[in-house]
Symmetry: C2
Subunit: 206 residues, 2 copies
DNA sequence: GTCTATACTACGATAGAC
DNA sequence: GTCTATCGTAGTATAGAC
């Protein structure tokens, strides 16, 4: 299917150059199709951009659903909530540490920095549900109010995000060319320990 | 001075569109100068790109030097090391939370994801020194080996980084249009508490 | 649905006036 | 040092063949 290839390349091109900077010509050429097929299928450059955002939301969904039990009932057991936090952030760490998600990372980062209509499509999908679920789980796990839980959620996610958002810095600090399985395991162990330390510190002086 | 204006605009344009995507024409026009002045002063598009990277390294240096005591002797007192970690990450949080640094964030992010020669210029400056100093301070503060300290440093920085790298998500989760002083104070308090919780958890079972 | 052909605008580099 | 003029290339959009 030419559509899938076109969207994959569009995500990479728009990610690295933005809506204005990317060129439909080179996207079409890389997808081995005529440029006018973009007009035909997506109505033009902007349509392709939004379709790329939808595709990212879709990829995020298939990537994260295993650890995101949207259908499970909300728990009010602190220990169960904490276990779910570990599971979600653990899987997120795997994805951030792998090279596979690198293609759409820049696309999302740009939208994080200067949100457009495309951000609504991404955040409106699994991403928004995930962060809200995380915040709620932190609330249950700590007994704090929602506001404190939201702030803590941001710091918890940040630890995972660092692997992508400051990838080159991480590699230089660790003196690595790429993260191998041992590196990732060590980082995950550190993050798991940090999660417990942070949640404990919030539960103590409630 | 036209050079400063040219570099400021170059940072924003290259940041949002990348080396290929950005256009010297629009950069020159926004700086109210002729496009050929870029060739004259920087030798061309790539020269301007590298000069923009140097300018970012310079901005980072002036931004962070107050909390980065490069001239102070390295301490071996865990409490003093911890205090320095708080000071560095506290100032970094202020910068990440403010809107001012938003201009060059995308430039650096892109280089983090796909490093070019420009990343060496940025990391080779204050940035590299800062992360190495942080790792060393974590080592002293916890008594762990350097490797464990490096991994922990990544997670510590990540908490701060989240404010920029996932800015729009943070704002949506907190239901804010922008972070006000109270928000920032609350986030800083959370990060300070997290730093202590994480360092304590590392010092305990050495 | 996918392609070629085309119209028009914008790109980076460079030469040369001043 | 800063400008305009120009060259060859590449950009989006659109019309129309098949």
């Amino acid at each position: 299917m030419a559509h899938a290839r076109l969207l994959d390349i569009a995500i990479r091109e728009f990610g690295s150059k933005g809506l204005d900077g990317a060129s439909t010509r080179s996207i079409a050429a890389a997808a081995r199709t005529a440029m006018s097929s973009i007009t035909y299928h997506y109505g033009g450059k902007e349509g392709l951009y939004l379709a790329a955002a939808d595709r990212i939301a879709e990829l995020m969904a298939t990537t994260m659903t295993e650890s995101l039990p949207f259908d499970e009932a909300l728990t009010d057991d602190p220990a169960a909530a904490r276990a779910r936090i570990h599971r979600i952030l653990g899987q997120l760490t795997d994805k951030m540490a792998s090279d596979a998600s690198g293609e759409w990372t820049l696309f999302v980062m740009r939208e994080q920095m200067r949100p457009s209509a495309a951000f609504d499509r991404i955040y409106g999908g699994v991403m928004g549900r995930m962060v809200r679920m995380l915040a709620d789980l932190v609330r249950v796990a700590t007994g704090q109010d929602m506001r404190a839980a939201q702030v803590a959620t941001i710091t918890l996610m940040g630890q995972v995000l660092a692997l992508r958002a400051s990838r080159a810095t991480c590699l230089r600090l660790l003196e690595r060319d790429a993260l191998d399985a041992d590196d990732i395991a060590e980082i995950k162990a550190r993050i798991d320990a940090n999660i417990d330390a942070i949640l404990d510190s919030m539960r103590g002086p409630a």
